[in-house]
């Protein structure tokens, strides 16, 4: 029993239980820690962090630029759409104009043709009327002539001495008018 305790005590002496509390190694650790921290600080503050900062800000700038460009492209696309719509509207208006013009021209031609036809019809009607009236006149005349001849013949037959062509003609004319 005593041996064991002694052995443990010796072990504890040769290597203390907690290496963390072995003060003989402290100067070594602290020295190397300070060296490490200084090296690390110099590396980080001189090289690594500025580089990462520039990379990040460059990326941020690039993203911002791309976004701006996209915005601009969107704007130009909207503009193009507007001009397209305007051109479409213009073309539509022009087409309407053309259609209207053509319609008006056709109307004019049509009117002219109608007027010409009307004139022709009127002329033809007048001519026919004239012809009809001539025929009518000649018919009336023929009737008168026939009536005169008939009357003359009748008068000749009944009263030969009373025959007076002129008087009979007047009488027939009055009779026909009446």
């Amino acid at each position: 029993m005593a041996d064991k305790v002694e052995g443990a005590a010796q072990a504890a002496e040769s290597a203390p239980g907690m290496p963390q509390l072995d003060f003989s190694t402290f100067p070594n650790q602290i020295f190397w820690l300070v060296v490490t921290l200084i090296v690390l600080y110099l590396v980080l503050s001189r090289v690594a962090l500025p580089r990462i900062a520039t990379v990040l800000s460059e990326r941020h700038g690039a993203i911002q630029r791309d976004l701006d460009k996209a915005e601009e492209m969107k704007r130009s696309a909207i503009e193009a759409e507007n001009t397209y719509n305007k051109a479409l509207a213009d073309a539509r208006a022009k087409a309407n104009d053309i259609v209207n013009e053509a319609k008006a021209e056709i109307q004019k031609d049509l009117d002219k043709a109608i007027a010409k036809a009307d004139l022709e019809i009127a002329a033809k009607a007048a001519e026919s009327e004239k012809a009809i009236s001539a025929i009518k006149d000649s018919a009336v005349q023929s009737v008168e002539e026939v009536a005169n001849i008939t009357a003359n013949n009748i008068v000749d037959a009944i009263l030969p001495e009373a025959a007076d062509t002129k008087k009979i003609k007047v009488a027939v004319a009055t009779r026909l008018k009446g």
């Binding site: 290496p19 070594n28 020295f31 190397w32 490490t36 090296v39 690594a48 962090l49 520039t54 990379v55």
Partner: protein
Amino acid sequence: MAKEEAGNGLVFHPMDQFEIKTLFGDGPVHWYSFTNATLWMGLTVLAVFALLVLGTSRRAMVPNRVQSIGELAYGFIYRMIEDVAGKDGVKYFPHIMTLFMFIVFSNFLGLLPMAFTTTSHIAVTGVLAMGVFLSVTILGFVKHGFSFFGLFWISSAPLILRPILALIEIISYFVRPLSHSIRLAGNMMAGHAVIKVFAAFAAVLAISPFAIIAITAIYALEVLVAFIQAYVFAILTCVYLKDALHPNH
């Protein structure tokens, strides 16, 4: 203690991994000698260098994986300082970044098998915490002079309570470096010691499957803790910095 149990096959050496040894030669540890602590601190510097300098050397507009991680770390710490310490704390960004990168890489490298965890030593974390404490206190006095004591004299509290509160505030102010350093060292030490204890249990056939599963689980927890402790160290540094920059709350 370890020797007496050697015969049983169950050997506990949970603290051996924290021993500081000279790597070249057998002599005692002088302040200049190249020890395993020195080696792992150097590896930490190399790892940070690889991540933040070599990883970003292409300065690519579209980052690759390593560069993304570097930028992520940058943005993470930058935003944290902005949120906690305010806009004027950003001036001290390189200092806090140095602390954070050193601690986080020490913690992660310490999780490698056979590695040495520099941050598990009170000497290391104590220097870090004392450095933060002293520089923040000096900064407070340089920036605000005598009115820095307004940090302890809470003007929004009733007058009768103020001396008591001032006493509490002063005590908690001076406990800061202690808790700041012991939290980090204690967490690292505890996790590694627990893993080592379970590793010793793994030598016993009957419970070795359980022990190995437990090691895996604790290891996963330790990965989380390694990051969280670095984060907590950095964020508490930011809180102290905020107190120095705006002592009147």
